[in-house]
Symmetry: C2
Subunit: 228 residues, 2 copies
């Protein structure tokens, strides 16, 4: 009988933000897949092993998932990843593929998921805490109240048009766009906070627009609210 | 010494989607607050007691949180709720206030949170899985990929202007707007799914726009993707 794949969201970095379901599935799985190249050095492994020490005894396999806008490179990488995962599923193994945050929000897991289903194999998505919820919690602010809308915008692609949205704006993967984002938000008289590497080593918090540096790491996230 | 309040997101309904932190804080708390009127009949209690049986032995206190657009009624209700919570904090009690989904996304907890901080007392937000992530996981679809934006729109307030957004649209609290929403999405040639009472008793899934009934319950959520 073929095995089943679970795409497990492990949340934003704090091991205590793992769900009970994520912990159970990691314990029950024969194989743990993590995005990266060196299994036990990946961020996903280092977060989860703190809550699930049993992982240290499991077969942990790294699946390369480069960050790239090169669609052909991405497709090749995902295809190779899916082949590896499918092979274990066909051997009847229960597999957990760990992914930071939530698997449905800008995760690379979703491409593996689709390719596994296309092969007629079974796969299930298991929700994790998305980074923007964790950042709002850490800053003690709400994302949305009453009639407010929430807009989540990948900053590496577009920020100018996102600027026109009403309600709360979340810019993800800020990186090199930090300076431009600060400038545009200042023109809008917005209030904003930024966190780099939320819940992970190297976390930095910038509580106001004025504090935003010109450049930050890829895993930086801005929450912007309309000015008064 | 004064106690501390934890605003604990309990996720969308499945007790296994509680985080480890939520479980620990419920076990450690002296007092458990739940939104509603009859403590052990509230949705929050009935979800969490399945994962944390110790709750049955705790002091569980219901805080009325009516759904209303009457701002004055809401303000009075939140003020009374905050007074009750503050009283226990001043007695040195550790308190957990349970809230469905995530406390930063359209939760009523956030008003209690602000009022507790205003009184100089300590409060912390603990993230939970937001309903839209759980729905996407259940339907096996992504919310956002690559450059896609995500727009979360409270359907009880506005749907017409939300219709113009690019990327993925999540309409929350659909209720009586179901028929109008179906019509507008059909005009846009969008693809959409709806879940009523996700992860709770009475869950119903509508896998395509054509299946959307004219009216659904308040806890209904639509995920709409741009048509081709």
């Amino acid at each position: 009988m073929e095995g089943k794949l679970y795409g497990v969201g492990i949340g934003p970095g704090d091991p205590e933000l793992l769900t009970l379901k994520a912990v159970r599935l990691m314990k029950e799985s024969d194989i743990i897949f993590v995005p990266g190249t060196s299994p036990k050095e990946t961020v996903a492994y280092q977060i989860t092993v703190q809550a699930v020490p049993e992982l240290a005894e499991k077969e942990v396999i790294a699946i390369p998932m480069p960050m790239s806008k090169d669609l052909r490179l991405l497709e090749e990488t995902h295809e190779r990843g899916a082949q590896t995962v499918a092979q274990y599923l066909r051997e009847g193994k229960t597999c957990a593929f760990l992914t930071l945050g939530d698997p449905t929000v800008y995760s690379t897991y979703i491409y593996i998921h689709k390719k596994i289903l296309e092969r007629g194999l079974e796969a299930e998505i298991v929700s994790g805490i998305p980074s923007f919820c964790a950042v709002a919690a850490k800053m003690g602010i709400s994302l949305t109240e009453k009639a407010e809308e929430l807009h989540v915008i990948p900053a590496i692609y577009q920020i100018e048009e996102g600027m026109e949205q009403k309600g709360t704006k979340v810019f993800m993967k800020v990186g090199k766009r930090s300076q431009k984002l600060r400038q545009l938000l200042q023109e809008k008289n917005a209030k904003a906070v930024m966190i780099e590497n939320c819940g992970m080593p190297g976390e930095r918090i910038f509580s106001s627009l004025e504090e935003f540096p010109d450049e930050v790491g890829y895993y930086s996230l801005v929450i912007a609210k309309e000015g008064n």
